[in-house]
Amino acid sequence: MNVIMPYVLPVLFALVIVALLPLLAGYIVLVERKVMADMQVRLGPMRVGPHGLLQPIADAVKLLLKEDIIPENADRLVFWGAPLISVTAAMLALAALPIGPFFQIADLNIGLLFILGVSSLGIFGIVLGGWASNSHYSLLGALRSAAQLVSYETSAGLAIVGALLLAGTLSTRGIVQAQSATGWWFIFVAPVGFFIYLVASIAETNRAPFDMPEAESELVAGYMTEYSGFRWALYFLAEYTNMIVVASIATTLFLGGWLRPFANTPLFNFLDYLPPLLMLGVAGYCFWRAPKQPVAVQKMFMVAVGLLCIALTLALAMPLAAPAGSLLASSKAGIHGAFWFLFKVAAYIYVFMWLRFTFPRYRFDQLMRLGWQFLVPLSIVNVMGMGLGLALHRQLNWPAAPALILGIVLTLAAGAYLLATGEKHEHPRVGEEEETSVDA
């Protein structure tokens, strides 16, 4: 019995995550479409369920029922397995994420590296899927996608190193605790690192403005071109899971993980009441809108959503109301931690969407130039700047603020220099000299 006991809780958590993730991914898609619609002065999905709330489920059913096509000369086994590799890699990475101080599958000694390493295995899903499709567009899309992933992983990894220097541990829980101890989230201490990670994580998840493999006009849909139905849905699931993963890494590393804003200042304790109030507000909105829905089913669904929000409100409010020292009160850290973690992850993903609907797309060579000629050097300088600041602080006993600010300023100066010199290389147009040679 004793052999099995330590595994029960992690397995339970893992089951919860695996069961909820497809639903979550579906609703992120819905939110994305709603956000897009809002930015583009439209309404977005409105038909299935109130405000389109049942759209993800309808989509999932549609995808499951679709004909499953395997191209004629495809390598069937690899074609079949590639999406699974992507999904598995993305889901494995979730194992080490601390969603609140108590809700974590495993707190590994090498936590952060584990997430990075496992999620980088997702490349195989992309490359093999593109190769097995036996199609021109798929292969090119897959190679591009993989090249992009590998390139930006370099700068993302180096950006993370900057924050790791501050934390002094690889354990995800330890990183959050380090931020809790100083009271400063690492985004304020290592802003350049956060910026690099933000850009690199967008590129790593293949999202606009770096969405070469999917939307680039000449590659149709990249590695997913030949996929349809359920397998295509798996790729999509992997993509959105990866978004959650990178957002969670950023949250853990830079945004203070499960910590409430100003967690160490008693003055701001009223922020504890924000989560239940927020949920109550959503519930109120649902109840207000419910009678206005056209169909009885939609009315009922709206009320159900409202009741769910009430339940969440109760869950969030009870630990606050319970007398100190009771079991309920001590569960506050866990419940509220999970709320704040998910809240920050959602905010990070919102930034992704915001950027996607604002910017045009990079060209592939511009993307590579940005990655290798700007982000990678900048992230190396960032690591050195952080190292310098920390060395001054820890070895020479400088006060923390000037030492770290010196490092940041040096990094920013290097970034400005890179930008200034990069302008010159901006248009090494293949055009001018070669055009004449073609004509000649």
């Binding site: 690899v78 590994l108 590296l113 584990f114 390493g117 295995l121 190679l143 590998v150």
Partner: protein, 168 residues
């Protein structure tokens, strides 16, 4: 008990995948099975309390080197290659080499049978905390080899770029 089960599972997986690596006709499939073999090895590392090495194996070997392999296979992938003879006629050489190797191992095991199976392992705590210990040795006792390795990597990088560059 669980530890041993994990080891035998991964060992079997590694050997099976390794056999498939050298016997598959299609290079891409070979690469896939090599990845499996490498991941199985990583699992064995984890079982041996070498967490840092486990992740190095996953990131560098499976995630880095093998992606490079898959890339190159796809770049040079020829449909013709599938119809060519994939094995040369040196199987008897391989047989002899394997046989000699097997004989040597058998001899070695026969000689040191007693110690091989009875040596007690050091306590697992002697390797904890793994990452910190590895870092300490790497940047303390093995500083010079570390630097040499980085120069080796630099040279290899330059060499690879120069060789793979298109001839102008």
């Amino acid at each position: 008990m669980l530890d041993q089960g994990v080891f035998y599972f991964f060992a079997a997986l590694a050997i099976l995948s390794a056999i498939l690596v050298v016997t598959r006709r299609n290079a891409v499939q070979s690469a896939i099975f090599l990845v499996t073999a490498l991941l199985a090895t990583a699992g064995i590392f984890l079982n041996l309390n070498a967490e840092f090495l486990f992740i190095v194996q996953v990131i560098l070997y499976a995630g880095g080197i093998m992606v490079l392999f898959v890339f190159v296979i796809m770049l040079v992938n020829l449909d013709v290659a599938l119809h060519q003879v994939q094995f040369n006629r040196q199987w008897f050489v391989a047989l002899i080499v394997s046989a000699v190797l097997a004989a040597q191992v058998a001899a070695a095991i026969a000689v040191s049978r007693r110690t091989l199976y009875t040596v007690p392992a050091a306590p697992a705590e002697s390797l904890e905390p793994n990452t910190e210990r590895v870092a300490f040795y790497l940047f303390h006792n093995y500083m010079l080899p570390f630097e040499i390795a980085s120069i080796l990597l630099l040279v290899a990088m330059v060499g690879a770029v120069v060789m793979a560059k298109k001839r102008v």
